[in-house]
């Protein structure tokens, strides 16, 4: 397995290089270093000298990919090389506005996790339990009603859940703060509403997906055998159907676990949670390339890690699967 993981990590290198190359190309197609400097320096009294100084301080006064120099400096004395190399050792450097990106990520990832982790765990649990419950009454009126309910939940926009939740629970009934965040244990009262909204808004899609997966399992011979042996319905559901139904669920679930700390743009913006959700978007708006490339790189790394974890988790839940 270790050889497999090492091989997958080796494959990741050209993928990350490609992602980085694409990020550079796309960003600099629409932004020139001069324009980036002017955005950072503001509109008032900005001289060309100040623009040149800004570019020189941040290394944007060099060619993008290829220098006219001879030898290896033709490739190394460029924006792409200088900005890319450090990323591979996770040295994100400073944002174009001067803040240390690594320190910012470290600080902002915890509120993101505080929101994303409970939403993820509670959401998965609720969806699985709800799906199993529906399976128990499959082909009944309850099953049909539950599916109609799920489709209705899926049809409502995520922003509507947020508006409705904030309006009723925070504004009308004064049960929780409408937005904000406090560190430590005080965070719970700010997280409860976004977590509930995150869970409820995901019930429709999640339950329908898991129901279809569990239905497939429920129709298999070993389930029929268990029932024929007189095993109780709860045992059938939780001891037989659930573990075997987990394999396809893992595919969609494990891959997102590492990305959880990247946060949720929508939830964090509306609920004022100081996470990483809006970090990339703010950076794009501010044309802060240092943050954009760091976050895209980190996102790619986490996705690759998620895929590797998914493969590993297969071996844990299904003894027939072996990594080679």
């Amino acid at each position: 397995m270790i050889a497999y993981i090492l091989r997958r990590l080796a494959y990741a290198f050209p993928i990350l290089l490609g992602v980085n190359l694409l990020t550079f190309a796309l960003f600099f197609v629409v932004n020139t270093p001069d324009q980036m400097a002017r955005v950072q320096l503001g509109d008032k009294h900005v001289t060309q000298e100040a623009v040149e100084q800004w570019k020189a301080q941040r290394g944007y006064d060099k060619p993008l990919f290829i220098n006219s120099n001879e030898g290896q400096s033709a490739l190394t004395d460029t924006i792409f090389f200088e900005k890319s190399l450090s990323l591979f050792v996770f040295d994100f450097g400073k944002s174009d506005e001067g803040r240390a990106i690594g320190a910012d990520i470290q600080q902002r990832m915890w509120p993101s996790l505080a929101l994303a982790l409970p939403t993820f765990i509670v959401g998965i649990s609720v969806n699985i339990i709800f799906a199993l419950f529906i399976i128990m009454f499959r082909a009944s009126v309850f099953d049909t009603a539950a599916m109609v309910f799920c489709v209705a939940l899926m049809s409502i926009s995520g922003v509507f859940y947020i508006f409705a939740g904030q309006f009723f629970f925070a504004k009308m009934w004064h049960l929780v703060p409408i937005s904000g965040y406090l560190p430590g244990m005080d965070a719970w009262k700010f997280l409860i509403l976004p977590v509930v909204i995150g869970v409820v808004s995901g019930i429709g899609g999640g339950t329908r997906l898991y129901r279809s997966l569990f239905l497939e399992e429920a129709s298999k011979d070993y389930v029929r055998t268990a029932r024929a042996k007189g095993v109780s319905e709860l045992t059938v559901l939780f001891r037989h159907i659930l573990p075997n139904g987990l394999i396809p669920i893992l595919t969609s679930v494990v891959v997102v676990i590492p990305s959880l700390f990247m946060g949720s743009l929508l939830m964090e913006s509306f609920f004022g949670i100081p996470g990483l959700g809006s970090y990339t978007l703010d950076a794009i708006q501010a044309q802060d390339f240092a943050v954009v490339r760091s976050m895209v790189f980190l996102g790619s790394v986490l996705y690759i890690v998620g895929l590797i974890l998914t493969d590993i988790s297969y071996t844990l839940v299904d003894p027939r699967v072996r990594l080679s």
């Binding site: 629409v30 932004n31 324009q35 002017r38 950072q40 320096l41 503001g42 008032k44 009294h45 900005v46 001289t47 060309q48 000298e49 100040a50 100084q53 800004w54 301080q57 506005e97 001067g98 803040r99 240390a100 690594g102 320190a103 910012d104 600080q107 902002r108 509120p111 419950f133 128990m136 009454f137 309850f142 508006f163 904030q166 009723f168 925070a170 504004k171 009308m172 009934w173 004064h174 049960l175 929780v176 703060p177 409408i178 937005s179 904000g180 965040y181 406090l182 005080d186 009262k189 700010f190 109780s232 319905e233 913006s269 509306f270 609920f271 004022g272 100081p274 809006s278 703010d282 044309q287």
Partner: protein
Amino acid sequence: MDCAVVKKTTTIFRQSLGQLTQRTEAVIRYAALPVILLSGASALLSGCGEAWNNPHPESEQGQNIIYSSFSERPKHLDPARSYSSDEGRFIDQIYDPPLAYHYLRRPYELIPNTLTKMPEIRYLAADGREVSDSDADVAFSVYQFELQPGIQYQPHPAFAVNEQGEYRYRFDNATDSAAYQSFDDFSETGSRELVAADYVYQIKRLADPTLLSPVRGLLSEYIVGMSEFSAAVTEQRKNLQAGEWLDLRALPFAGLEVQDDHHFSIRLKGKYPQFSYWLAFHFFAPMPWEADEFYHQPGFADRNIVLDWHPIGSGPFMMTRNDPNEVIILERNPNYRNDFYPQDGADGDREAGLLQAAGQRLPLLDKAVYRLEKEAIPLWTKFLQGYYDRSGISSDSFDQAVKISSDGIGLSDEMREKGVTLEKEVVLGTYYFGFNMLDPVLGDTGTEEEREKKRKLRQAIAIAYDQQEAINIFYNGRGEVAMGPVPPGIFGYQSGEEGINPSVFEWQQDKAVRRSLDDAKKLLIEAGYPQGRNAESGEPLVLNLDTTTGGGGSAIQNWMIKQFKKLGIQLNIRGTDYNRFKDKMSTGNAQMFQWGWLADYPDAENFLFLLYGPNGQVVSGGSGVNSTNYNNAEYNRLFESMKLMENSPERMEIIRRMLEIVQRDMPWASAWHPHSYVLNNHWVQNARAHGISKSILKYLDVDEQARAQAQNQWNQPVLWPLLLVALLLLVLAVPGVIAFRRRQQRRVITDQGVQG
């Protein structure tokens, strides 16, 4: 929740459950639960608890704190770099420039801040002899400053010393400083007296090219020796490692002189009357060299321990927490000097209760908490719930906050009932719809005859473009039509018949009335475009508006198209991103555009320079403020003489002539001055909007008892919805459980009987 009634209800509930027989337990439990919960809820609803939705920590309750918000995280808090009002609202409470604006007097008036008196200005000829300010030989102006003695800096680790008198926090390398990962890790602080050399040190920082101060270019034109100092710093830095501290004290600066700890002078080239206004900006706030050295230590920048994020000043407040993604906290500077609430103000201030705190020591607040609020709805809701003390008015909440009547804009009944007060102020700014005067279709180009025709075309458009309608529809009436660049409240502004723009308005029945469309159509014919078509070719006239807000289709853009359609002109809206837009502007490729300007200081020069030829975007390579590229020789000449004059009838006459030229040439189709509206909850005291200064926090106060009472009254939790949800779940669960049990108890009937 610890109410006695609730406890009693819970006990009864438990006892009741215990008495139930096992057989009927489930059924009765389901029936009794809602009843018992509802009785608990009614107990809670009777008001035994505190507000549950308070977003502020319990530890802050009862403290003299003002709560506010910010929507954009500040980029820079270094007084040499910061140049936006979003940043000024924080650092202007911390830094102490030599001059300040009087809080209440109008028109705006400069007063000494850390000085004993206003700076004395001497004028010198080139040979050094002293001359009068009106002398044509004036080659230099020397500003002489006298500092108040005994002013102390805020407590700060940069000043902390050990028992031997050595600085406590100085490190040779990043490893030594590794124990200090955040600013809070520095447990020891110190302070020292503010001295004249600190002001000089800050001006040297402004001249340092690596700091990218936005005013370096402008000030280099006036302060003697600034350009030379910049060159010397650049030379010195060549011998330093990246990030290494350069002690600016060692480098000479010809225009600056420190006489002693409390006296210094600044020498300017020629006369620059507006310099006094710059002295009230944070750019000129003092900076102790120890702070500059402290923040340049190895490893600090990688942990965001930099001056740009952790200000150090001698002002009324100090920043004790800076997490721009969540909260920024300012607390009273315990070392703040003797500073008192003003004894006098403008007319009506006493009646408005703004002088009740006269003579009290400042600051009146202990703390100010600013939370990041990106969305308008949570911000407005928290204001209504009493958790924010002050709020602006967004378009979404406008109807709820104010009502428009024949008397103007006033508070809505709901706001009046809550005791909310409204601050109104004309913003010292001008937003305009401009023409590119280099454009071949409508600019000031070609032969004299062609230029005259294009002028008439611009005048026709200006008449048709009904700015007042746009203000009413799209800005809820929060603004007024501008007759020229200078806004009300600034010397040079003229109201009434004298001030109207005669190319667009007529004075009828004591008010300015827009000229008729017939006048505009007549001008259009004279311009060579009868009914909006080229008189020679018959082709329709198509004009282009360059904008960063989409490519047409929005309500305001449709409205603009209609304005041009009144004359038969087709308006094409060219949406583009900000970068392309800036490129078009700096290369003169835009045709029409919208732009705005907010004043640096309350002087007509700061507005009239928006149309000064040498400030043109194209001629200055994109750095000029004259976005229309308007260039009129007579206007330029008048501007050059006006900008060096003190306010006087003679200056007023020159401004009037300049406005006449602009009103005739019409480089702007229209313009307007926005109005600022701020709501205050009833416990906020001494609130008065200031069009220029952001350093007003020290004058504000809150009645924390009234606030706590209102918060509690307005935010009692409503519990019946929770109970309803619980009941609903129960109603849904009961049939499910029954069905499940039935299923579990199902038996297969065979020939041998029932199989278990």
